[in-house]
């Protein structure tokens, strides 16, 4: 995907857009709460693997620490890690009291979205970490957002992390966005942005295809460039390499 294409997908709208993103992040599982023990050991590791951790964002894993908050010097750890050019982003696991102490030092509690992977050369844990209580959006069954009203000019609908199914028309001047596929069981006259979270597999389906703009994973086409597309027909749009393909259904 090109940066320029991305920029032009939705011109002149807002200064920013909030999007969910999934990132892999290193977890530094602490076995000791004392900076004076952890930091020199890290320094050793750092010298053995140059650049491995430099400016890397890390989460501090607390599951192996069986300590009270008073025994863990979070501010000292944060300062020491930063001195080693390591950027602590937050903490994972641990007791609520520990997480609270971490929060006081500016480390928010992170929620793992999948199975936590062991990063070499971290020592093997004695047992698997228990799941952290709290909201978990996996398995809620939300795979599609369904809209039954016409999407009117000026309105914007975003199906975050899901498909978007619309059983009415998307009017000119409206914008429908989905991280997954977009289905329009009506006329699509506005803008449709599928695979917004960079999913090139996403597709757009429309019963009556008449859009202002179509984009999949940042690759887009405006109406002017759609003269060859089957306007007014039932169409599926998919991404083929770097170009959009329009197929009559």
């Amino acid at each position: 995907m090109t940066a320029a294409a991305q920029q032009h997908v939705l011109p002149g709208a807002d200064a920013f857009r909030l999007r969910a993103g999934n990132f892999s992040i290193l977890v530094l599982r602490l076995l000791d709460g004392r900076p004076e023990v952890v930091l020199p050991a890290l320094g050793d590791q750092f010298r053995r693997a140059p650049g491995f951790l430099r400016f890397a964002p890390i989460a501090i894993g607390l599951d192996d620490l069986n300590l009270t908050p008073a025994e863990v010097d979070f501010p000292g750890l944060v300062a020491g890690l930063r001195a080693l050019d390591i950027v602590p982003m937050g903490v994972v696991g641990g007791s609520p009291a520990l997480r609270q102490a971490a929060a006081a030092a500016g480390l928010s509690a992170l929620r793992p979205s999948g199975a936590e992977k062991e990063i070499e050369p971290a020592p093997a844990p004695v047992e698997a970490a228990p799941p952290i209580p709290g909201p978990d959006f996996r398995g809620t069954g939300r795979t599609a957002m369904i809209v039954t009203q016409p999407v009117r000019s000026g309105s914007r609908i975003y199906a975050e992390g899901a498909d978007l199914i619309i059983t009415a028309t998307v009017n000119a001047g409206a914008e429908v966005i989905a991280d997954g596929n977009i289905h329009v069981y009506g006329a699509l006259r506005g803008r449709a942005v599928a695979g917004a979270a960079d999913n090139p597999e996403a597709r757009v389906f429309a019963l009556n295809f008449d859009p202002e703009l179509i984009a999949i994973a940042g690759f887009y086409a405006v109406r002017e460039g759609l003269s060859a597309a089957p306007i007014g027909r039932t169409v599926m749009v998919r991404l083929d390499g770097e170009s959009l393909r329009f197929e009559k259904l």
Binding site: R152, N171, G173, A174
Partner: protein, 273 residues
């Protein structure tokens, strides 16, 4: 329970004030106690169309600021019983409208009237938002042209999301389409959108189609709501729309080109009066 009806369109010049005046008059003619409020503060027009411009003493802003009582500002129509006009201020702007002030006025009027018509200014800014906030029903005035339809579509979305009913998650505002300035000749020539096209895009129930008619301008200039002109097609179409609004079943008229035009009509090619 008083019903608050907002007459709105997004776009300017499509016939909101003409329609507000006609509709309010029509409701009063049918025995409903009706008040029509001009929300176009700074561009006061409703009083002209209603022919009461020489009787304006106080206006809605005076009431909001407490300089006048509501019944001092209300102007009673001399032609139709039970019809009142609350004029806008010409010397102030829309910033003088406040949320609480408008709310209090609506609340007070609701005790006394069956229908409160809010004649919205154009646009989707403050004035229009005040006019639609309290709506129970909305009459969206649209011309059969692309820009008007798009703006109506926009205002429908605003009504859905910004009205008090939407905020309180109550039953949504009931929306009606009033298609005005419809000229079957130009529709046939493809210069105007067809009724079906407009309905397909906006997807709300049709209240009525008001044909393009010279009598509308005449009525406006003379300060007589066009619905009082029984001879004109526009006046009849407004009367039909009011009847439909009150639950009567009336077929749509004036959608087709007049076929049986006399020699006189053909010679002069005049439009329907």
């Amino acid at each position: 329970m008083a019903q608050v009806i907002t007459v709105t369109s997004g776009k300017g010049g499509v016939g909101k004030t003409t329609s507000s005046a006609a509709f309010a008059t029509g409701l009063a003619q049918r025995g409903k106690r009706t008040v029509v409020i001009d929300f176009d503060v700074g561009l006061r027009n409703l009083d002209l169309i209603m022919g009461v411009e020489r009787r304006v003493v106080f206006d809605i802003i005076n009431v909001i600021t407490g300089e006048a009582k509501l019944n001092q500002a209300l102007i009673k129509d001399k032609r139709v019983d039970g019809l009142y006009i609350l004029p806008a201020s010409q010397t102030r702007d829309k910033d003088a409208l406040t949320h609480e002030g408008v709310g209090k006025i609506i609340e007070e009027l609701a005790k006394d009237f069956d229908y409160i018509l809010c004649d919205s200014p154009a646009g989707i800014e403050r004035g229009a938002l005040h006019a639609l906030y309290h709506a129970d029903q909305a009459i969206v005035v649209t011309n059969p042209e692309v820009s008007s339809v798009r703006d109506s579509d926009r205002i429908l979305g605003v009504i859905q999301s910004r009205s008090k009913r939407a905020e309180e998650k109550r039953e949504p505002v009931k929306q009606h389409l009033l298609l005005t300035r419809y000229d079957p000749v130009r529709v046939e020539r493809g210069e105007m959108l067809k009724l079906e096209d407009v309905l397909e895009i906006l997807a709300i129930p049709l209240l009525g189609v008001i044909p393009e008619s010279e009598s509308v301008l005449k009525a406006s200039n003379s300060g007589n709501p066009v619905i009082l002109d029984n001879e004109s097609t526009a006046g009849q179409a407004y009367a039909d729309a009011v009847a439909r609004f009150l639950g009567e079943d009336r077929p749509q008229r004036f959608l087709e080109v007049e076929k049986k035009k006399g020699l006189f009509g053909r010679l002069f090619g005049g439009r329907a009066a």
